[in-house]
Amino acid sequence: MSHLSDVELRVRALESVLVEKGYVEPATIDAIVQTYESEIGPKNGAAVVARSWLDPQFAAWLKRDATAAIASLGFSGRGGEHMVACFNTPEEHNLVVCTLCSCYPWPVLGLPPTWYKSPPYRSRAVMDPRGVLAEFGVALPAETRIRIWDSTSEMRYLVIPMRPAGTEGWSEAELAAIVTRDSMIGTAVVTAEAVRA
């Protein structure tokens, strides 16, 4: 005798009913899983950040119309229909959250990490952003303002971290390699040591 858990049975029931009624095809389901498990991820966002560090015109475009600038690098679609790029500066640090559920810019960051979906992050990022950042090991200067961006199904945010000192002359690929997922959510800053240490 075989065994499936209650939730596995529910998913099988849902899928078989939807397939039978012609709403979804099994091959489509497999393709979607494959895409989000291995093809889409923070590497895409890192490419956007690295380009913006090297190309002031691209950075200006990103500021003006992030959706189009990001699409020009080939990253668009589900969850990226309306993007805003939030540029970190010495005066202002950006932090992204979704207080309602887990809206997240899939085309540039892939699927959200577990903590992004957790209630403590979703509530504390708004109430105590400095405390949350401290837990991530980030201590900002007292004079740096923290701006919170609450994602919605309509609008998704990509944080553009500051380019770290000591990266002068680096190639686009070298720069992209030090841009972490968390730095593009705002729960980390980018350092040059990551790769060259």
Partner: protein, 122 residues
Amino acid sequence: MSAPDAASLFRRDAPPFRAPWEAQAFALTVALHDKGLLTWAEWAEALGAEIKAAQARDPASCDDGSDYYLRWLAATETLIARKGIASEAALAARKAAWERATEATPHGQEIVLANDPLGGAG
């Protein structure tokens, strides 16, 4: 930079899907969206409501985000029932059919709905 707190909830991480069913549930919703059967605005509202209801039942229930795809699945079931795509009763009947098919399938063999001794319909 101070040392990250290793005990913090926020340091826990995991691959996007912890089990195949999570990936299946995720992909089904995306496929319904791609077919124009739901909008992301409707989706965010439904998922948000499920998460809120779960927290109301047990405030600590999803603190580590581990039952996130349970909420995801429930939101999909609710939304497709509301839209008349498949009723709660139809899904329950189909689930029972899969359960019978599973019990009738020898261990190690592929579980298919046709193994349901009552015929798999439902």
